[in-house]
Symmetry: C2
Subunit: 471 residues, 2 copies
């Protein structure tokens, strides 16, 4: 018998896949799944199950159809079920018989619809146990991984574009939020490794997936969108261990009382009070964020920069107002922006004009040059007064050589002594491209002080998580 990890691995790297309910009609879920598997360049064999099409000898997108699993020649690692809920138990019986290892049940109409659905879900569960089948879903999108060429999501790429290969993985209870997260990543040029929409989590749940991703070499940061947690103790135990290996970041919706009520209406599960979740995430070493945008601000930083050794942040800016707003934002996230010592200020003034204020923020003003940025960055990075650096080169400043200051920032970042993030104003295409290049070079670059501070705060928080004593 395979280990759970080996079995979960097949959701991302199945050798062969059967689509039960493959449809000939464009626009249908059973058709989109076939299209997306083809578009993903799935390297294994695809068995399309559709009794009517098989009887007529029809193909779907040029791929042969079969009347049932029995008729498929080879073994099947993964079956994707996209037929109405009431027929799912029959399909599951076939999967047991065929010794299918993994099943993704895309179909909705189970627990979330009431007592009848719960009965159906239990039937499916019994069959899964009988056949030692690992199940994702029901009521889910399944998996997407651009690296391993799998895409079971029934969201057409024309409306939900897919991100490229990267080091972020994402687990979601909600399909619509999952789709939004993917298009957000695509539009922001952020790469993904593994994406899993697990829906009702009849079998494989968020805990199992975190356990799996802890050992996944391709994943550097994992995000989770959750509305409720079914097996809380298990989840916390797994996260507490896994979070020492890599950061886990959660968007837990249903934070408010009204939101909790909305979750119950939406998923039929009990969401529990938010304070309990906060305490649980804290204990589990999980970083919590409120929104999808905030998740990416945090993920961008965690993927690229080292965790901070403390919470004292230095700010170097060419715009005084931006310095002030950044300091405010740091304090919003409970970070410190200490006034630099007299001696450090003196050292800065050896090469900076006396009228530059260098207390923190170090304000290089509209007259700043790339050399001044490089000098200020290195001086602060070498000091023991700060644990992280926010650099704000307003690239439109006339005397500032944008290429040279970018180079200096990348070099400072590559020392990996202390985390560095950049904030700038994306006024023009040229500046946006410059920020994009910084990101490619591993420097998280943000459009607003508050967002840059959020990224830095995550690096500080993850540093604190890593420094916790082991039990």
């Amino acid at each position: 018998m395979d280990s759970i990890e080996t079995q979960i691995d097949r959701f991302f790297k199945p050798r062969n896949v059967a689509i039960i309910g493959a449809s000939r009609r464009p626009g249908r879920i059973g058709h989109i799944v076939v299209e997306q598997m083809v578009a993903a360049k799935f390297p294994g064999r695809l068995y399309l199950i559709n009794p009517k099409a098989a009887k007529e000898g029809r193909h779907i997108l040029g791929i042969k159809t079969y009347a049932s699993l029995k008729d498929c020649g080879g073994p099947i690692d993964l079956a994707i079920i996209v037929i109405p809920a009431k027929y799912v138990p029959i399909a599951m019986e076939e999967c047991v018989e065929k010794k299918v290892s993994n099943v993704i049940i895309v179909s909705g109409g189970f627990r979330e619809t009431g007592p009848e659905g719960i009965k159906l879900e239990n039937q499916v569960k019994d069959l899964a146990q009988k056949g030692d089948i690992r199940i994702l879903g029901p009521n889910c999108l399944g998996t997407f991984s651009p690296k391993t060429h799998i895409d079971t999501l029934f969201l057409p790429e024309s409306t939900t574009p897919r991100p490229g290969v990267g080091q972020i993985s994402f687990l979601t209870q909600s399909g619509s939020v999952g789709g939004a997260v993917m298009s957000f990543a695509y539009n922001e040029n952020i790469g993904f490794n593994k994406f899993v929409s697990f829906g009702n989590a009849l079998d494989v749940d968020e805990g199992d997936l975190i356990d799996y991703l802890e050992d996944d070499e391709d994943t550097k940061v994992t995000g989770l969108y959750l509305e409720s947690i079914n097996r809380g103790r298990k989840f916390i135990d797994i996260c507490r261990r896994a979070s020492r290996r890599k950061p886990f970041v959660v968007i837990k919706a249903g934070r408010s009382e009204a939101g909790t009520r909305a979750v119950s209406s939406h998923t039929g599960s009990l969401a529990g009070t938010d304070r309990i979740y906060d305490a649980a995430f804290e204990a589990a070493g999980i970083i919590r964020v409120k929104t999808i945008g905030e998740f990416f601000d945090v993920a961008r930083a965690l993927v690229n920069q080292p965790p901070a050794e403390g919470n004292r942040i230095g700010v170097i800016t060419s715009g005084g107002g931006f310095g002030v707003m950044t300091i405010d934002a740091l304090v919003d996230y409970d970070l410190q922006a200490p006034e630099l010592s007299e001696s450090l200020q003196k050292r800065l003034h050896t090469k900076l004009p006396h009228y530059y204020s260098v207390k923190n923020p170090v304000d290089l003003t509209g007259s700043s040059t790339a050399e001044q940025f490089a000098f200020a960055m290195n001086t602060l990075l070498e000091s023991d007064e700060i644990d992280g650096l926010i650099v704000i080169p307003l690239f439109m400043t006339p005397l500032l050589d944008a290429e040279q200051v970018s180079q200096a920032i990348v070099e400072a970042s590559e020392q990996r002594k202390k985390p560095i993030v950049v904030v700038s104003v994306p006024s023009t295409k040229a500046i946006r491209e410059r920020m994009f290049k910084l990101r490619l070079a591993g420097v998280p670059a943000y459009h607003l002080p508050l967002r840059g501070a959020r990224g830095m705060a995550a690096l500080v928080e993850y540093g604190e998580i890593l420094r916790r004593p082991t039990e």
Copy 2:
């Protein structure tokens, strides 16, 4: 003698303008100002003052140069001074002699640099009083108004693109933040009416400008970026009255103790504690935001939608997860998302499938149609259980006719019974264009639940400000 309002009006609609310190060298501040005035299609006469160029009979961008103000034939409404600080008093003397009405002192090097600068600033102040001259600055960018074709900003358009004509005006103490606000507006397709960077506010300050904008027919919403307020009592008195005519939204930086220290280093002014500001803004009927992004979220709503009569918000969604996140976000902003009454739920279920949850959020699910959206919107707008509506049509939902649902939203918005804002996921170019069209039709459309909720919260807050008893 003209009233202050009439005089301030000349900063935006001068008949003739002199640029003292116009430069022949591209890249110089004194050259950029000429370029921008030309690019803005300033309709009046431009007198360029540059003794050396005048002596050599040189032109700048084809415009004649003069040795001094005396030599200019006609009267001059506005002089823009872009020469080093120490020569500014001499230029001011010329302005007094020439009976110039308004002066923008772009030059820095005054109060913000210490005792010498303060002395210089006082000299200028005395001359202004002598000549009854209204001054903007020193240490500022001056004014920009695409409608009246003025642009005194020395930020070249190639790095700080200018927004088109709109109904938002913006006042800022910080030039760099002002530039960022303008490019943000440009990139988000948000129109501007008047932009003023007033720097050290030696004469005309934020209070005078708010007083002026209160009566300005072209301005519907005014934003302010402030780091400190010099004449607090005057400011509050003016805002208290003006905020009943139109909304004023402030970004006050230096919120934290560390941020206050940063302001003092940056501007040389005392920023005061943040709690005092909060109380003052509250008393003055001013809406406070933290970031530039948040300012635009709020301004978008206030420009287009009516204020709300109360704080009970209904949510209609085609994605359950988005419903939950939106409810959470509403609660974050102290709004209510009440559970709808049994009778209202029954009314909704007359035309919606029984398995749709309609408690609030009204979850139309992935099966939603445009008719269902229209029906749910109208039912909620007609009820007395909610005061505002957040509509979340995930345009990628397969059965949803995007054009039809947009039309229904615009129609609902045009009734102007209750404020409506939209949240959607900008996955694709087509969806972004759809959201853009909604905005053109007066429906604020946001990319994230939290941002939509922020817009709605501003409409609720402004409704509360308007309902306050007059003293």
